[in-house]
């Protein structure tokens, strides 16, 4: 149903071009900066001691491309594995995902690799790039992994806002902006890489 599935179109705004709505989820281990990335992107804020996310948060933000306006419905969920059994209801129907890891934490990069879904637009974000002096994950290694797996890749910093808007813009550009009849129904699942196919978007 459209209210849940995400891809429902809005009539074009005053700008005159079409508006597309997409559901995007943030994935990744706890404390890698998922909420901070969203907060930076949506509100332009950064809190050094951003509290852990309990349950899920939902935010929206719009970006303008030349050909369309893309409205992101962003779901930010708790990172700790204990809560993953409850997460599927949030990433159900997502058309895009940003898998976040912390460049100062090798373990978080290994965990990031567990998330896979071939049928949605995915980006890998190496966050906390402002802490490059404590780097534990090579840029090249992450980039190579992303390339092999067809993921967009950027190192980001929610603190300095480096590449934050850019990673969302890059996703927006990769999303199918042409008219599609059905909202996407994919599920993202850690450790599960075969998903049923159906891309989709809905624009007017």
């Amino acid at each position: 149903m459209a209210a849940r599935g995400g891809a429902a179109a809005r009539p074009a705004s005053a700008a005159g071009n079409k508006t597309c709505q997409f559901k995007l989820v943030l994935l990744g281990e706890s404390a890698v900066g998922k909420s901070s990335l969203v907060l930076r992107f949506v509100k332009g804020q950064f809190h050094e001691y951003q509290e852990s996310t309990i349950g899920a948060a939902f935010l929206t933000q719009t970006v303008c491309l030349d050909e369309a306006t893309v409205k992101f419905e962003i779901w930010d969920t708790a990172g700790q594995e204990r809560y993953h059994s409850l997460a599927p209801m949030y990433y159900r129907g997502a058309q895009a995902a940003i898998v976040v890891y912390d460049i100062t934490n090798q373990e978080s990069f290994q965990k990031a690799k567990n998330w896979a879904s071939p049928n949605i637009v995915m980006a890998l974000a190496g966050n906390k790039a402002d802490m490059a002096n404590k780097r534990a994950v090579d840029y090249e290694e992450a980039q190579a992994y992303a390339e092999d797996n067809g993921l967009l890749f950027m190192e980001t910093s929610a603190k300095t806002s480096m590449n934050v808007t850019d990673v969302f813009m890059a996703i927006a550009k990769k999303l199918p902006l042409g008219a599609g009849p059905e909202p996407a129904r994919d599920t993202v699942d850690p450790s599960q890489s075969t998903q049923r196919a159906s891309g989709g978007s809905c624009c007017k």
């Binding site: 706890s30 939902f58 491309l65 700790q80 059994s85 300095t160 480096m162 850019d166």
Partner: protein
């Protein structure tokens, strides 16, 4: 001016935003002065609020790209110091995060609260967007809200909710017209009618089938035309669902079916909170040897339930409420117990503090737990003075207590949310050992919430839904028809006992009330039900769906009225308790109704100390 300027249709200085500050030990409401404006821009009409002293140029000189939309970016070189092009980047005043701008077309409704007659105060407006966002409450200090509403009506049609007079809805005329024509069509075509003659349809499941049928078959057929946008389809579906709800009530009456959800409850009694238990009252309940007998301890629990305890008394009272100290023991006996438990604490603390780095390299399970604790200690209540600053010894204490708990219950380990439970205990106790054993007592009650399969939380969410079916069937049915009857949007409330919804002080007050297990062990669920009950019209009249409900509920954080929540929840308890012979068995079980070990007498009797 070369740039296209926004036209300011209305500008009202002297409109303050209320900031509920949780940063200090006592909750304080701060009013941030600012200016409210309605601005016409090339991209639409925006309602904007700017804190005083902030550059209003953001909107006065607004060009076409400003507003909530991010302009298209050209690729930038990777540069750690580059800043995003978001509107609020750049040098900021402490309150600039409150600044907002909302397109009137994205506005769903607003709450318009006038001060009570004869009482001092200022009228207040709180905007609610279609995506469920609640904006910061705005207080009109120098004038009424009339000008604002008048000017706003130039752009959108407003209608006051018939059911909640404080709620003003933005009416989408096109959608309303469409819904009207749909309902006419229904009557003519008798699509709904045919289904309603089927008695089975009066049962809940049958009705949801109607809704599904209408959505899957009828709506696409009616709306299969390019002229109708997707948005209007969704709106029409929602309109229709509301109508189905109304019809549901009607047919269940006509068909003379006993629908359990239609159970009529007695009116809710008026409940009043009492003042917190003082040190003097606490001491007067003790025997001369310093112990409490069973009747006195029970009486004290009731007092704590009705008023909480004074701040200074918490350090002592919480030890009893959490089962660390025993009511029946003398202070000397409890002190003896404490001395023994302190040794236990130090023993368990020694177990992990003596693990060397070399050992860690072969102790993965321990390392995982340690990493989780470290990550969360660094971001638990850091806005509180008690935990502020990087080299704060209280952070080390919180870390030590949580790590020692990992050794106490290694199988459970550390789960997110535990640091939220531990922080107030440490704050009140002021030392590791007492905080730890209070934490153990607290965890005994909530242990199941953190277990791997999350069954306990799911059970509670289901129980909450069952309760809501009785307490507020209208809302329960609405949630069901909007894919939200899993009640998952209440997850955060339940898992950390509203810690994220209240100021630190109010959290302490709520928890000590809940630790008394009065008037029933599941009082937390009644608090959830009472809180949702209060949001009924906002959720339904704004036609919130799954995402908007979650966002709305999350945004209520720091805007709840604790005393109101507690009295409503207690009133609901008495309502249910009075009708327990009519209630379904499972509801009685959820609340342990009929169990004489918990006593719930209406409060308000003044001779009660």
């Amino acid at each position: 001016m070369k740039r296209a300027r926004g036209i300011v249709a209305l500008r009202i200085p002297g409109v303050s935003a209320r900031l509920t500050d949780d940063g200090d030990d006592q909750p304080t409401d701060e009013y941030i002065p600012g200016t409210l404006a309605i601005v016409e821009k090339a991209t639409g009409v925006f309602i904007e609020w700017t804190p005083q002293g902030e550059d209003e140029c953001g909107w006065v000189l607004a060009d076409e790209d400003s507003g909530h939309t991010i302009p298209s970016l050209s690729p930038k070189p990777v540069d750690a110091s580059s800043s995003s092009s978001l509107p609020s980047s750049g040098p900021l005043s402490p309150h600039s995060r409150l600044r907002f701008s909302v397109d009137v077309n994205d506005l769903s409704s607003f709450k318009n609260v006038e001060p009570k007659k004869g009482k001092k105060g200022h009228p207040c407006i709180r905007l609610i967007a279609k995506d469920g966002t609640n904006y910061v409450p705005l207080y009109f200090l120098t004038q009424s809200t009339k000008d604002f509403i008048d000017v706003l009506q130039r752009y959108v049609t407003l209608r006051r909710s018939a059911r909640e007079h404080q709620l003003v809805l933005v009416v989408d005329e096109k959608a309303e017209a469409l819904a009207q024509s749909l309902s006419t069509l229904d009557q003519n075509g008798d699509i709904m009618g045919r289904f309603m003659h089927n008695p089975y349809a009066t049962a809940m499941t049958g009705l949801s089938k109607i809704t599904t049928f209408v959505q899957d078959q009828v709506i696409p057929a009616i709306l299969d035309s390019d002229a109708v946008s997707q948005e209007e389809k969704i709106r029409a579906m929602r309109e229709l669902r509301t109508e189905t709800d109304d019809t549901r009530l009607k047919i269940s009456r006509e068909a003379d079916f006993e629908v359990v959800t239609q159970l009529e409850l007695p009116p809710r009694p008026d409940i009043f909170r009492e003042s917190p238990v003082t040190q003097a009252v606490w001491s007067s309940f003790k025997h001369s040897d310093g112990s409490f007998d069973q009747a006195k301890s029970h009486h004290m629990m009731m007092n704590v339930f009705r008023g909480g305890v004074e701040t200074e008394l918490r350090k002592e009272a919480w030890k009893y409420l959490l089962g660390y100290y025993e009511w029946s023991k003398t202070p000397a006996e409890n002190e003896k117990k404490r001395a023994k438990l302190e040794k236990d604490y130090l023993r368990m603390k020694g177990q992990w503090t003596s693990i060397s780095e070399d050992q860690e390299s072969r102790f993965a399970k321990y390392v995982v737990r340690k990493a989780l604790v470290e990550k969360d200690v660094a971001r638990t209540d850091r806005t509180l003075k008690f935990f502020a600053g990087d080299d704060n010894p209280n952070l080390a204490m919180l870390h030590n207590v949580l790590m020692t708990y990992c050794m106490y219950d290694f199988d459970l380990g550390y789960v997110q949310g535990m640091s939220d439970f531990c922080s107030p205990l440490l704050y009140v106790m002021g030392n590791e050992c007492d905080a730890f054993w209070c934490f153990v007592g607290f965890m005994q009650r909530v242990h199941a919430n953190f277990e791997k399969d999350q069954t306990a939380i799911k059970v509670q969410l289901n129980q909450l839904r069952d309760l809501l079916m009785i307490v507020n069937p209208k809302l329960a049915n609405y949630l069901e028809s909007h894919d939200s009857d899993d009640m998952y949007f209440c997850f955060r409330w339940l898992i950390v006992w509203f810690k994220r919804e209240f100021s630190f002080e109010d959290t302490c007050k709520l928890w000590e009330v809940l630790w008394t297990c009065q008037p029933c062990p599941n009082f937390l669920l009644l608090i959830c039900a009472a809180t949702l009950d209060r949001q009924t019209e906002t959720i339904i009249e704004n036609k919130f769906g799954l995402t908007e409900i979650l966002k709305h509920v999350n945004d209520l954080s720091m805007h709840h009225d604790l005393d109101e929540m507690l009295t409503s929840a207690e009133a609901i308890f008495h309502q249910l308790s009075a009708s327990q012979d009519k209630l379904p068995m499972h509801i009685c079980e959820h609340l342990a109704l009929g169990d004489k070990s918990v006593v719930g007498t209406p409060s308000g009797d003044e001779d009660d100390e």
